[in-house]
Amino acid sequence: MANKRIELEQYKYYIDLLVEDPARKKARRGVATLLIAAMVMSLAFFVLGFLSNDTAGSLTDIMQKPPAKAPAGDTQVPQQQLPEGIPQIPQQQLPEGIPPIPQQQLPEGIPPIPSETEQPQVPVSPSPGSRLPATDAIAMPFDAPDGALLARAQAAPGQETTPTVDIPAVDESAPDSTAPGSSAPTSSAPKKTGPGTTTRGAASLSKLATSAGGRGFEIYLLAVFFVLMIALYVALRRVRLEAKAK
């Protein structure tokens, strides 16, 4: 005891720790708070995972541009899509003297343009360098510059040629999703057809999500959540037993 006292006086380290050490009751409460918070956080992620089941099942969904909220026939480009500093072009305010183009009077022999809901599905992942018709129902390519949207907004009414969107050719050997301004190393690996087609992994997320009657992902989440809860509960129980014992 005397030696310990000498040590306490001699070394500031011990004094620091004695001052620093919280009371046992307070420490136990802190540990319990941590473990319960971890359980709640796991539950929150678990619920979020359940809600993300449809996204996990079709991973391409999230890559698509959300559908435009504008009503059918309205060709106005959403304001938030234009870069700053570029004024919005009013779409439905024709200058005076120009009569509006009649909508439903087509010459004979020309088939009517299908409405938005009738337009055929266009593949979301076009090949690099291809040209897509820029209709309203088509999702813009993700790497298309904002200028492409602006070009649509400036198209003259009654233009006979179908406006197109140029998709710049993508160098597939270069990593695509890298930080802006950073130079990621290029891969010399041969080109692949895409994720999920050639994997050697146990299962892809979409396969898992669509398996077991569409509940595979949920079952997986439930299993991991259950094991995690057991581990956290064992720790919490130990803390409570410790508190009772002392």
Binding site: A27, G30, A56, K65, S177, S182, K192, A231, R238
Partner: protein
């Protein structure tokens, strides 16, 4: 439903407050602050290295026009190339795992505790990673061996990082001890700063903190060496291509 990155960020920020209070009570204010600072620096170094090496990235929202349709569609607070919420999540997981392991195995060796902490952290990330991938909170780019769209090196990396971090923290702050092979290096470097060659258990808390950060640097180098070997080995056996933004 599409869980936006902002949902993830708000969720993490809300829980961080609770974890901070709980951690300060459980470990003591100074120890907890040391743990927090160490966790932030250690995980930031790991994640930054991973992003710069092209293994993963958090820029999916920034590289696609999708995010423009939502206010604050992407991460708000960044630490370089890594969102703050990802770093805070690692801290929370490491803290819970360490404290849980201390109480589950109260009388076992530090190795066993650190291994259990790594195991609990891996369980956490096995729950979080598929949700993150599904919602594009982060995206893996590396050619590797994937398990439900999460590369195996990410799972191993979580285990190893929490294992190493908790081991260093335990041996430096909780129960200070010296490593024979590290002692000479510490005497020549970090202990030269405060002009002391005492054993770790005889150092003041502020000196111990300096030693802790020094050991973290060494641990990061060792971790990087091991993980590089794992990533290269998995790259060699894998046949999975890169994920493209137009996918």
């Amino acid at each position: 439903m599409k869980g936006n990155a902002i949902v993830f960020e708000i969720l993490v920020a809300a829980f961080f407050v609770v974890f901070y209070i709980g951690g300060a009570r459980a470990m003591g204010r100074l120890r907890h602050l040391t743990f927090l600072a160490g966790a932030i620096l250690f995980s930031l170094a790991i994640e930054t290295t991973a992003v710069l090496a092209g293994l993963d990235n958090f820029y999916w929202y920034a590289t696609n026009s999708y995010f423009k349709h939502y206010p604050l569609g992407g991460y708000v607070i960044w630490l370089g190339v890594v969102p703050l919420s990802v770093i805070l999540l690692w801290y929370m997981v490491a803290m819970t795992s360490y404290v849980g392991a201390l109480h589950i195995l109260p009388s076992r060796s530090a190795w066993a505790r650190a291994a259990l902490a790594g195991g609990i952290a891996t369980l956490f990330y096995l729950l979080i990673e598929p949700i993150a991938v599904a919602n594009r909170w982060w995206v893996f780019n590396a050619k590797s061996f994937y398990l439900i769209d999460v590369p195996l090196f990410a799972v191993l990396g979580v285990f190893l990082s929490v294992f190493v971090f908790t081991l260093v923290f335990h041996w430096t702050i909780t129960e200070p001890r010296d490593n024979k092979s590290l002692k000479k290096l510490e005497d020549r470097t970090v202990k030269r700063v405060f002009k002391s060659k005492k054993l770790a258990k005889n150092l003041s808390f502020h000196q111990l903190r300096a030693v802790f950060f020094f050991r973290l640097v060494v641990a990061f180098v060792a971790y990087g060496a091991v993980m590089s070997a794992i990533v290269v080995a998995l790259w060699a056996v894998a046949n999975r291509g890169q994920i493209k933004p137009t996918w």
